[in-house]
Amino acid sequence: MNNNRKKSMFINFIKRFCKNKLAVAGFIVLVLISLLVIILPPFLTYSESEIDPLAFSSPPSSTHLLGGDDVGRDVFSRLVYGGRVSLFVGLLSTFISVLIGIPLGIIAAFYRGIFESIIMRLSDVFLSFPSIILILFLVSIFGPSIITVTVVIGVLGWPLFARLIFGTVLSIREKDYIEGAVAIGETVRSIIFKYILPNAIAPILIQITFRIAAAIVLESSLSFLGMGVQPPAASWGNMLYNAQSITILTDKPWMWLPPGIALLVTILSINFVGNGLRDALDPKTKIS
C-alpha cells in the first residue's frame, strides 16, 4: 500500500469518527482526564498518602478542594492519584491480554488440529467463568496489590483477543491472496505480519477500547471489595470502600461521590469512543 492511500484512508477514518458527536466528546474528556492525572500530581499541595490532622473528615474548603477523608488525607489529591492507578491498570492489563491472546489465537487458527481444540476449549472455559470469582480466588492466594490485580486481570482477558483473531484468520486463510503468498514461498511469519494482522487491526482496536473499560471496572470493583489496590495508595475503587460505612454514606458525600462520578464519566467516555471506532472502522455501517 503506498503512502498516499494510507493517508487518505486515515483522513477518511477521522472524518467518519468525527461524525459521531458522542464519540468525539468522549475522546476529548478522556484526553483531559489523562492529562490531568499525568501532569497534576507534582503540583498538588498534598500527596495521596499525606495526612493533615486538621482535615480529618472535613468538608470541602479552600485548602482541601474536596475535603479530607476519614484519616485526614486530601480527597482531591487521592482522586488524581487514583485516576492514575485506574488508567494504568486498565491500559497495562489490556496490553497483557493482547500479548497473550493474539499469538494463541493465531496459532489455533493457523495450525488447527490439537492446538485449536485445546486453545479454544480453554477460552470457552475462561469466558464462561465469572472473572471476578476467579480473580478473587487468585488474589486470595497471591495477596492483593496493584501488580497482582493488573497481571491477573490481564491474564484473564486473553480469550477475548484469541477468539477475535481466530475468527479473522479463519475467514481470510482460504482467500486467494494467502494461497498466492504460500505458493510464492513466503514464510508463515511474513504472512502473519503482512496479510493477517493488517486485516485484523480494526476489530482488535475496538475490542481493546472496550476491554480497557472493563478492566478499569474490574480493578475498581476489586478495590471496592478491599481486595485490590490497598490504602494508603489511592484508587477510585478503594476510595468508595469507606462509603460502605453508613455514617460516611449519609453525612460525608464528598468522600465517595467524586471518585464514583470520575469512574462513571471515564467508563462512559471510553465506551462512547469504542462505539465511535466501531462505526468508523466498519465499512458496512453507513454514516450519513
Binding site: 467463568f129 478473587l136 486470595s140 471496592f224 471489595l225 468508595l240 453508613i246 449519609t250
Partner: protein, 317 residues
C-alpha cells in the same frame, strides 16, 4: 437428542477435572495454610508440626492430596471451615439459596426492563424511543454496580427511608415475605442493571434481523394485526439468541453478585467468599470456586438444550 446430551456431559467431564486440578495447584501455592500458622508460633516443637502435617495430609505428594480432596468432594465433603469449624458444604448451601433468589429475581427484572425498551426501539428504529433506550443502555453498561448501589442506598434508604439498608430479613421476621421483598428489591435491580444494557441492544438487533425475513412480510401480507406479527412472528424468533445470551450470562451473574451482595450485605455466596478470603479460610474459598465451575458447566449444557427446543432448525446429531 439423548446421544447429544450424553456426549455434551462426557465432554464436560475432562473440563471439570482440568478446572479442579488448576484450582488445586494454585491453591497449594497459598501462603498462610494452617501449618504455616502453627510454624509462626515459636513454642511449638518440630514433632508437633510433623504430627499436624500428617494429620492434615500435607506430608503426602501433591497428586495424592488432590485425589483425596477430589474423592471427598465427589461424596459431598468439602472439608471444614478454618473460621467457623462448620462443614464447608453446609455454609455453601446456606449462601447458595440467597444468591440463587437474588440472581433469579435479577434475571426476571432484567427481562421485564429490557423487553419493552428493546422491542420499541426495534419497531421505531432511529426515532426518539430508539435514542432514549440506547442512551439508557449505555448508562446501564457503563455504571459500575457498586457506585450505583451506593447511590440507590443513599436515596432510598438514607434520604427517603423507604427501603432497608441491607441484609435479607428484619430481625425476628425471618418468615415475613413482605420484609424479604423489601430487602430483595434494591440488590436485584442493581444486579439486573449489569445485564440490561447489553440485553436491550441484543433484543433490538435480533429483532431488526428477523423483521427482514420473508415470513414476517408474509405475515403482514396476510393482514395480521401488527401486534400479532410482532409478538408471534418477530419476537418468538428473535428470542433465540437472547436465550443463549441469558444462559451464558446467568453464571456470570454469580460474579456480579459478589459486589452487589457486599454493598447490600446480602448473605449469599459472594459475601461468604469475601469474608472467607479476608479470614484466609481456604477450604471455603476453594469450595465456592469449584462450585461455581460446576454451575458454569451445567448452565452451558442447559443453554444448549433450550436453544434446540426454541429453534427446531437445530438438530442434535
Amino acid at each position: 437428542m439423548k446421544r447429544y446430551i450424553s456426549r455434551r456431559i462426557l465432554v464436560s467431564i475432562p473440563t471439570f477435572f482440568g478446572i479442579t486440578i488448576l484450582v488445586f495447584l494454585v491453591s497449594s501455592l497459598a501462603s498462610g495454610s494452617p501449618l504455616e500458622l502453627l510454624l509462626s508460633n515459636q513454642n511449638i516443637s518440630e514433632a508437633e508440626i510433623k504430627r499436624q502435617s500428617i494429620k492434615l495430609g500435607l506430608d503426602q505428594p501433591l497428586y495424592i492430596q488432590y485425589f483425596k480432596w477430589m474423592g471427598n468432594m465427589l461424596t459431598g465433603n468439602l472439608g471444614e471451615s478454618y473460621r467457623t469449624m462448620q462443614p464447608v458444604m453446609d455454609m455453601i448451601i446456606n449462601g447458595l439459596g440467597a444468591t440463587f433468589l437474588l440472581a433469579i429475581t435479577a434475571v426476571i427484572l432484567a427481562c421485564l426492563i429490557s423487553l419493552p425498551f428493546g422491542i420499541q426501539s426495534a419497531r421505531y428504529q432511529n426515532k426518539a424511543w430508539d435514542n432514549i433506550s440506547s442512551v439508557f443502555s449505555f448508562f446501564a453498561t457503563s455504571t459500575p454496580s457498586f457506585f450505583l448501589g451506593l447511590v440507590f442506598l443513599y436515596f432510598f434508604s438514607v434520604k427517603l427511608k423507604i427501603l432497608p439498608i441491607g441484609g435479607m430479613n428484619d430481625i425476628g421476621q425471618e418468615n415475613n415475605v413482605l420484609s424479604l421483598l423489601k430487602h430483595l428489591i434494591m440488590p436485584a435491580i442493581i444486579l439486573s442493571f449489569q445485564m440490561v444494557g447489553t440485553l436491550i441492544q441484543f433484543i433490538r438487533s435480533s429483532m431488526l434481523e428477523v423483521m427482514k425475513e420473508d415470513y414476517v412480510r408474509t405475515a403482514r401480507a396476510k393482514g395480521l394485526k401488527e401486534r400479532v406479527v410482532i409478538i408471534k412472528h418477530v419476537l418468538r424468533n428473535s428470542l433465540i439468541p437472547v436465550v443463549t445470551y441469558l444462559g451464558m450470562e446467568i453464571p456470570l451473574l454469580l460474579g456480579g453478585a459478589v459486589v452487589t451482595e457486599q454493598v447490600f450485605s446480602w448473605p449469599g455466596l459472594g459475601l461468604l467468599m469475601i469474608k472467607s478470603i479476608a479470614a484466609r479460610d481456604y477450604p471455603v474459598v476453594l469450595g465456592i470456586t469449584v462450585l461455581v465451575a460446576v454451575a458454569v458447566l451445567v448452565f452451558n449444557i442447559i443453554t444448549d438444550l433450550i436453544y434446540g427446543l426454541l429453534d427446531p432448525r437445530i438438530r442434535y446429531d
